[in-house]
């Protein structure tokens, strides 16, 4: 290592196992000037450099969340860019994509700029997803080109799907020339109308109006047909049913340019959790059956589903302290995603593929893999952890424990469905552009 480079080292992550495509390799990681300078078995620590102990830990690329609701502007009582980014950092994330269902929604350059301004200096980088339609009202296209010029690469009306097939087709056609990706929250509004949980044995027993799996699958099927028609790229948000996973599997086999994500809660929880009518278990898409959970996990394992995405959806306590049918859907996810993925997927896939599902692949879908040189632009995410790469890193301790205490989460809200639970594995450090933003599970920003 040349002396010149060595003098720039400001941070050494010592004693961990670096997660790479070829498996784990015991190595120290030297960081300076926001980039990884060296990955080697034993690196001397220059005077003044910070040392992060990573003994027994995995050192992987910082995680990337394709699906975060930051609630700002408009619902600051539930979350802000600052608190959401802090929760992200504590969860091992270095980049999150902010969903556009804010108030007002992200359908204009002004709101995009506001969020990017708020995100300056946050504990994680924030990319902004724009709305497909004006006001997310599903009737007219939002200014996709204007937002694309500001660096927006992902567009969705998340919270609802674009119901009008002709409008969705037009959006796909229009997006093609912009080099952006549309993402769909697949839910047929007529089939889902009034529903508050998965329609099935539990909804029938509990007397809660249900949302049939067909409400999701009908739109997945329609949109696959539209991708076939337009040749445009489409990302499927939070797949939750066995039928949806199978539809996407066949679309990929056909060679269509589709990608998909799944949320940790759809890998772990079922509609049986609603038995006590606790609105913390209300989420959209709803918690489904054991078979659906198994299909989502199988889809993550066989490559049908490309990314684990949190659908982190904070709601203020008073909003959730109402009857089940009246509560808004959504649950916190940023600080529990990696331990859950490690628990469910780790034994089947190993660390390399778990990190791929949570970092490299989502980074590719959101086009965050290379640096955006524009003012306020982001650094590169998704790894690999090697010399020359941006120093966005997640240090995860598989021997640690994540105990979920709603009052101690960084989010402004407490609507975690995992209160009181303990998961094996814990995020220990997070490094953002070379700066440690989380040290020993304590946020530094």
């Amino acid at each position: 290592m040349p002396e010149l480079t060595k003098s720039k080292v400001t941070l050494v992550i010592r004693g961990g196992s670096v997660v790479g495509p070829e498996g784990l390799a015991r190595a120290d990681v030297a960081v300076g000037d926001g980039v990884v300078l060296e990955v080697a078995e034993a690196i001397d620590t220059p005077k003044g450099a910070t040392v992060l102990d990573a003994g027994g830990c995995l050192v992987g690329p910082g995680l990337v969340d394709l699906h975060t609701h930051l609630r700002q502007p408009g619902r600051e009582e539930a979350e802000t860019v600052e608190t959401g980014a802090r929760a992200a950092a504590l969860g091992g994330y270095t980049a999150i994509v902010a969903m556009p269902n804010t108030e007002p929604p992200i359908d204009s350059a002004g709101v995009v700029r506001e969020i990017l301004d708020l995100a300056a200096g946050a504990a994680a980088e924030v990319a902004v997803a724009g709305a497909i339609t004006l006001g997310r009202a599903g009737t007219a296209l939002a200014p996709l080109g204007e937002l694309a010029a500001l660096g927006v690469t992902l567009f969705t009306d998340d919270g609802s799907g674009v119901q009008d097939g002709a409008l969705m087709r037009r959006a796909l056609d229009y997006a093609k020339g912009l080099g952006v990706t549309l993402a769909q929250h697949c839910e047929d509004a007529c089939l889902a109308a009034g529903g508050a949980m998965h329609e099935g044995a539990w909804s029938s027993r509990l007397g809660i109006p249900g949302v049939p799996a067909a409400a999701e699958e009908a739109m997945v099927a329609r949109d696959i047909a539209l991708v076939r028609l337009t040749g445009s790229r489409l990302h499927f948000l939070h797949l939750s049913t066995a039928g949806s996973v199978e539809l996407v599997r066949r679309a990929k086999a056909e060679g269509l340019p589709v990608t998909a994500e799944a949320a940790p809660h759809h890998m772990l929880l079922t509609h049986a959790a609603v038995a006590g009518y606790d609105p913390v278990f209300k989420v959209n898409p709803p918690l489904r059956t054991d078979e659906d959970v198994a299909a989502v996990v199988a889809g993550l394992c066989d490559g049908t589903i490309d990314a684990v995405a949190t659908d982190h959806a904070p709601h203020a306590p008073e909003a959730k302290d109402v009857t089940f049918d009246q509560a808004p859907p959504g649950m916190l996810g940023l600080q529990t995603a990696l331990p859950i993925a490690w628990d469910v997927l780790g034994p089947r896939l190993g660390p390399g593929r778990v990190f791929a599902l949570m970092s490299a692949q989502p980074a590719a879908i959101a086009r965050l893999t290379s640096t955006d040189p524009r003012v306020g632009g982001h650094s590169a995410h998704g790894g690999p952890v090697e010399a020359g790469a941006a120093a966005n890193l997640c240090v995860f301790d598989p021997a640690g424990t994540t105990v979920v205490d709603p009052r101690r989460l960084a989010s402004r809200s407490r609507n975690t469905p995992y209160a009181g639970q303990a998961f094996a594995g814990a995020v220990r450090h997070t490094v953002l552009r070379g700066e440690p933003v989380v040290i020993d599970a304590v946020a530094q920003r």
């Binding site: 329609e199 099935g200 044995a201 909804s203 029938s204 027993r205 509990l206 007397g207 809660i208 109006p209 249900g210 049939p212 006590g276 009518y277 606790d278 008073e318 302290d321 109402v322 009857t323 089940f324 049918d325 009246q326």
Partner: protein, 329 residues
């Protein structure tokens, strides 16, 4: 009873239902006295919180509480702070802070009583109907009424019949089962007591899934009628939009109404129940509603005794005055 609340018939189980029916018989005797009142719950305060319209259930609970000498507070939602935006939780906590012993709640949201039960500190919660979910006291009074009729016919007392009279009893529940809390509670109660429950409804008014329910669905309504010991008719809940689940009321009545023609298919000893309010001419023909085998007014009368039993079992415990309840077997 198991536990401090009555949220679902499932909270009771077979033995719990038997106990309620037994205690209700004792209170039915009280009701036949010239002064139908006992001091059992003197000093206790019972609040009725009805967030949804009701005539008979509310009156029935309030009458039951008064006959047990409890003080009754009745929250009229239309003129309460709920209209000012107060949350259900704050309303319940406010009411409990006034020293309420029992909260009787009806709400249009399924599960509302379960949440109220989590929020209260010491009050007992009774579900008086929650959304499409359950209406436990209605199902209990239906069972009580059926047993009463069976006992009268045998010239025996209901206590002598015990709950054995439900073994193998063929119960046919007809109508808007999908949106009916009465149907869900009846399914739980009758099946817990050993009855064989069959459902008859147009496909659009059946629950989306019957997985886990020990019930059958009738292929042919007319055939099922001929086989039934008890026919439980439900109201088509037009005010909840159930009307759009069938092409027209006329078609519903033709297919699923208990018309005079269908009545002829019933066995002579079959009992017809209806939780009320009846919509004559839709699910039941007026002539049929007025036949002696249609026990609707008897159900209403028994509602008070059954609700007295529920309040007594939840609130009475070892409290003073228990010994004054006569002849609890």
């Amino acid at each position: 009873m198991n536990g401090p609340h009555l949220l679902s018939v499932a909270d009771l189980g077979r033995d719990g239902i038997a106990e309620v029916l037994r205690v209700a018989e004792a209170f039915a005797e009280v009701e036949r006295r010239s002064i139908p009142k006992v001091p059992t719950l003197r000093g206790k305060v019972v609040a009725t919180l009805f967030f949804e319209e009701s005539t008979r259930t509310r009156l029935s609970f309030e009458t039951a509480a008064k006959r047990l000498s409890a003080d009754v507070l009745s929250l009229a939602v239309a003129s309460s702070s709920v209209k000012k935006g107060e949350s259900l939780r704050d309303t319940v906590e406010t009411v409990e802070a006034m020293g309420i012993d029992a909260v009787i709640i009806r709400h249009s949201s399924a599960g509302a009583p379960h949440q109220v039960a989590r929020w209260v500190e010491r009050a007992h919660v009774v579900n008086a109907g929650d959304g499409w979910h359950e209406h436990p006291t209605q199902a209990l009074l239906d069972c009580f009424t059926v047993r009463q009729v069976l006992a009268e016919r045998k010239g025996a007392s209901p206590e002598e019949l015990g709950i054995g009279c439900f073994d193998g009893l063929r119960v046919l529940i007809v109508g808007d089962i999908r949106h009916s809390r009465v149907a869900r509670s009846e399914m739980l109660a009758y099946t817990a007591l050993g009855a064989r429950v069959t459902l008859a409804a147009p496909g659009s008014l059946l629950p989306p899934s019957l997985e886990g329910w020990p019930v059958e669905v009738a292929n042919d309504f007319d055939e099922a009628l001929a086989d039934a010991d008890v026919v439980s008719l439900l109201r088509l809940q037009a005010e909840r939009g159930s009307g759009s689940f069938v092409p027209s009321l006329r078609e519903y009545t033709a297919g699923w109404g208990l018309t005079a023609r269908r009545m002829a298919r019933l066995r002579d000893d079959a009992i017809v129940t209806h939780p009320g309010p009846m919509v004559r001419g839709v699910e039941i023909a007026s002539d049929v509603a007025d036949l002696p085998r249609t026990v609707v007014t008897q159900q209403v009368a028994n509602g008070v005794a059954v609700r007295m039993a529920i309040l007594f079992l939840l609130l009475g415990g070892e409290a003073p005055g228990v010994s004054e309840v006569p002849a609890v077997a």
